[in-house]
Symmetry: C2
Subunit: 365 residues, 2 copies
């Protein structure tokens, strides 16, 4: 196997700050654990728009298509509020997802024992919480056409189109079942089948896939309406193992679930494509949190979600599970020692800066 | 003014049970406070389907169009899971909303001091919470066409259409601004302008309406992405006063907000049409909770949301604010006395049945 390549896209807001800590980690792993990767840097989002007038250049996209993994910080900020949609920071992220065909977005929402108190929920409701949301990422209302202003039956209106094909639903549901088989053996498939045609379609396709595949028979499949899921996440989040849902519901529900944990600054995510003949999948790793323009540039951001996103890359794209384990353990120890960035600080904690946290993790390694 | 008419639609699940308590209340108000209303009964949802094969008959719809207010219990249940969509219980509710043109759905999410502990959130996060969600109810992806299976650019797919006209957005935004003027003077307008065309359109129209109307200048308008709103509801719900949003986001966010309070069985809602020349609005009142098939028929349901929904009807459709005040006070006293249905019972509470709770409210009156 030739040296794997990693495309680094820090992006906007706190993205570059948390990225700096990943670079330190890569360097440490290269020196002490023989990690051998070629890294390339690129611009995405507002950072790219400022330089090139678009949120992603064709060159960077081409590098992303070739890379073994893409690491992304965050995109967006109020500075770009009035920029045309096609070149907005978000457009760069959406183009990467779509062109790389990263249809399965894995968003874990889990609590860290040392951080239970950071949640607005009562500790007993979230202690031991471990949900994996599998969000469809390249279809639905994010990409469906037609979209925009149109005249329909004589009336002027603005539209978006929520669209799914059977193949699109099946491939993401398959990912959810496969993951559930390695976890709690339970999948909640979430839609609005009582109101939306695509909801009823989604339900039918997921049920059909489940029924047609004997290897999924050990997985319990439950259907749930999206509004009820939003409620149940607040009422009793521990009832969930894997949740599979469409692009838009996944956007809201994964953010809601992430916030339940109180550890938004801790949560990584992975976006995966289909495996090719050699089993290689295109992949992008990014923290669940956004660009947080309000604290950008102040050294306050929590780099752990970004470090753990790199950990996911180590595990899933670079075949370096042992390094990922080591990283997980180091993060755990740092938290156990009471070291915290401001977002997760409680009484008695030692509050450190972004780079202070990165250093603490390296010291622990 | 002729005697106002009230159309009573108990519906499915716990609907009829909680309705029985409203009937007792109407009777009490007629005998002791001179309430003079003509009531009619009708079927909706599964109850109507069982009898007529449709979820709402034309006759009942005609009565709803004429009524001064419609009171609805709840619709739906697993029994109807495999019934064709056009005649599903939900179709009856959607048809009422659409034909009566009830475009503004008011969903308060507020906490009752006596019930703070029923929430999964920490008491300090929700104490004094008082959010009003104004959900657009007759447009968006719930009703947009085309919908269903289609071939698009050679590919077979299922679609729903999210569609809004300028007039649809303006009229619901106006309701939100008007309500905020009587409350905390703050409106959050919620969409996904960073991803959806209708989101950007919604934002533009709401901003335009706000800017063009000097009477709204005292209202602070903030725009927020729907995923962030889902997060912020969990992180710090008290930052909100009025939230205005589309049909689908309103469905999820209002359920999430309702669950934050821990008092889902306490929350009423009103759906309003446009005022006619005489200032009369079509209106439907219903609890936020659903048909709760799991506890239906067991006398366990909490009737307070239904009673308080009738209270909203007294206030907004029947011009009997004093009766509504009396009812609010009675509910407060009952709670203060520690009387609870199972859903809101805490340690030391006196747990009563559905009718026990109704009786307690009457006794308090
Ligand atoms: C930045 C934005 C386009 C994006 C989305 O809506 O998908 C973000 O909210 C996310 O969840 O990754
Ligand atoms: C029953 C269903 C059709 C309805 C909706 O989705 O609007 C319900 O969830 C609600 O919020 O009133």
């Amino acid at each position: 196997m030739s040296t794997p390549t990693l495309l680094l896209l820090p992006g906007d807001g706190i993205g570059p700050e948390v990225f700096a800590e990943v670079l330190k980690l890569i360097d440490w792993l290269a020196r002490h654990r023989g990690l051998d990767v070629t890294t390339r840097d690129g611009l995405v989002g507002g950072a790219c728009y400022d330089r090139h007038g678009v949120a992603l250049t064709d060159e960077t996209l081409a590098e992303a298509m070739e890379a073994d993994a893409v690491l992304l910080g965050a995109v967006g900020g109020p500075k770009y509020d009035n920029v045309p949609r096609e070149v907005r920071p978000e457009a760069g992220l959406l183009r990467l997802r779509k062109e790389m065909d990263l249809f399965a977005n894995l968003r874990p929402a889990l609590t860290f024992k040392a951080l239970l108190d950071a949640s607005t929920l009562k500790p007993e409701v979230i202690e031991g919480l471990d949900i994996l949301i599998v969000r469809e990422l390249t279809g639905g209302v994010y990409f469906g056409r037609p979209r925009g202003m149109q005249t329909f039956e004589g009336e002027e209106r603005c539209v978006d189109t929520q669209a799914y094909s059977q193949a699109e639903v099946e491939r993401v549901a398959r990912v959810a079942f496969d993951l559930a088989a390695k976890r709690g053996h339970k999948v909640h498939s979430v839609e609005k089948a009582n109101v939306m045609e695509t909801g009823a379609f989604w339900r039918r396709v997921v049920s059909g896939l489940h029924a047609a595949n004997p290897e999924f028979s050990a997985i319990e499949l439950q259907h749930m309406y999206a509004d009820n899921c939003a409620m149940q996440l607040v009422r009793n989040p521990k009832q969930f193992d894997v949740i599979v849902t469409d692009n838009l519901f996944g956007d809201l529900l994964s953010d809601c679930a992430a916030m339940l944990t109180g550890s938004l600054g801790m949560l990584p995510s992975a976006s995966l494509g289909a495996p090719d003949a050699s089993g290689r999948r295109r992949a992008m790793y990014e923290p669940v949190h956004g660009s947080a323009p309000d604290i950008a540039g102040q050294g306050k951001a929590n780099p752990l979600a970004m470090l753990l996103s790199f950990g996911m890359a180590l595990r899933y794209s670079l075949d370096r599970g042992a390094d990922a384990d080591l990283l997980d353990k180091a993060v755990e120890n740092v938290l156990a020692a009471g070291i915290r960035t401001g977002d997760i600080a409680g009484p008695g904690a030692t509050v450190v800066s972004t780079s202070g946290m990165g250093d603490a993790v390296l010291a622990e390694l």
